[in-house]
Symmetry: C2
Subunit: 309 residues, 2 copies
Amino acid sequence: MQDRISIALVGIGKIARDQHIPSIAEGSDFDLKAAVSRHGKVEGIENHTDFGAFLATRSGIRAVSLCTPPEVRFDMARKAIAAGHDVLMEKPPATTLGEAEALADLAREAGVTLFATWHSRFALGVAPAKAWLADKAIRSISIVWKEDVRRWHPGQAWIWEPGGFGVFDPGINALSILTEIVPGRILVEKASLSFPANRKQPIAADIAMRTLSDAPVSAVFDWRQEGPQTWDITVETDQGTLRLSKGGAELFFDGIENTAGPDREYAGIYERFAALIRARQSDVDFQPLRLVADAFLCAERLEVEAFED
Amino acid sequence: MQDRISIALVGIGKIARDQHIPSIAEGSDFDLKAAVSRHGKVEGIENHTDFGAFLATRSGIRAVSLCTPPEVRFDMARKAIAAGHDVLMEKPPATTLGEAEALADLAREAGVTLFATWHSRFALGVAPAKAWLADKAIRSISIVWKEDVRRWHPGQAWIWEPGGFGVFDPGINALSILTEIVPGRILVEKASLSFPANRKQPIAADIAMRTLSDAPVSAVFDWRQEGPQTWDITVETDQGTLRLSKGGAELFFDGIENTAGPDREYAGIYERFAALIRARQSDVDFQPLRLVADAFLCAERLEVEAFED
């Protein structure tokens, strides 16, 4: 067994408490040494309120995991890379493609590991779905991602601001699975974005895409879904139908369930981060963010009913 | 003197007649053998109305220059690459970053030359501006790009459609100069886009950017400018002020003019295309398009007065 890698967690909010802290604790790769957060604290470890002050302590901590909202991630990641830390970034990696690509450049120049995570790629059904699709001809893909924003983002004002991406915050999870399981690039053809009258980011989106072999890919994202929640990707192929449900957790071939087991998304993320650090490699795939940017670039904009939390 | 490279021109509209045809005729690198256009014709050479039919003739023509509006460029470029042609693309290279990156992949796999042109980079002042800036510290950059859309795009409906980019059609010229003369990436911080009530693309844009060394970069694009037209980039450095005027044609250091001579933008483009073909290289820099996508991604949207041609 190898030595544990010392790590600091930055941004102690819902995702840090729900996922990062338990996954680090249950895994055997990392040793959580410090937390940095303006408001949150983690019991039993060193706590900082200022990221610059944390970096200045030269704590000897090797890795930094950034779980803050995306608008502050670029400057933090840049400083962490400059200080020689290996860096994990929650999704989305940055608020613009330029920031994301600049971070990849900086990490390469500094010789540190940068891991732009897409947690949905670690859902149980994704790896077997990718393996199954590798030798099939895709005929069409349909993505339906409908959830209740009030349930999943209570009071998170940043999701409605530029860089928060609105309904693309969950939608980019679907796009991260899509770009993982389908060989080759995905092209955006048309998009329609629905903006609430009082919000800067869309609450719903319809996107028409295609694969490089011209199979149509449709995506419907909606944040106004009460009752049952839907996170489904259906792929029609020349050899049957694949369906990923529950955000990739459940996989069906022609209706027959293929996967079962407890969620391991964030456990998988930290295992991969440790492997990258030990191999001195980075994993920086910005295709999901690029699809979002392309959707905004070619979108028609609709105004819809104001949304109140 | 080397043999001339046979070339076909696709999309015989305003830019082809104003720039491409005279530049090919006056240069010594290419021999214009065919034109492909639904409506336009070029006297004295082979004319086709259908691009697929032209490709099927297997004419022996080596290079293809695509001057069509961007929304049809991807499929044409893909077919031309698949048929083994070297390909020049007018700006912008495609309607989405995904399309642009896919073309770069396909050209690399096929071993053909792909040249994503940005004509403003060949304006007289740009190369000396780049050389001068290389050892200066940039303090700030201001871009003002104000022109009358009625004068420069009479009746061109496609500029108001998704993929036409509205005021970014000229604005991307400024961004192509910016990314050529400034070392390192440019990051978009904030943008405000003004959409006419009856149009799908912006008629004006304000963009706040920064260089990787944190110098502020502001850009104001406006298509409602009657009277004098402005295409200026001003760079304040630790060693004086650089100004590019008239879209890069005129260069001033601390107010003193440095360049003079006739316009050679498209002559420069075709010299570069010939050099790339002879060296079996590609030139595919999508930074200007990426800045446009990032501006759309993080923009606030304003509705302004309807625009009628």
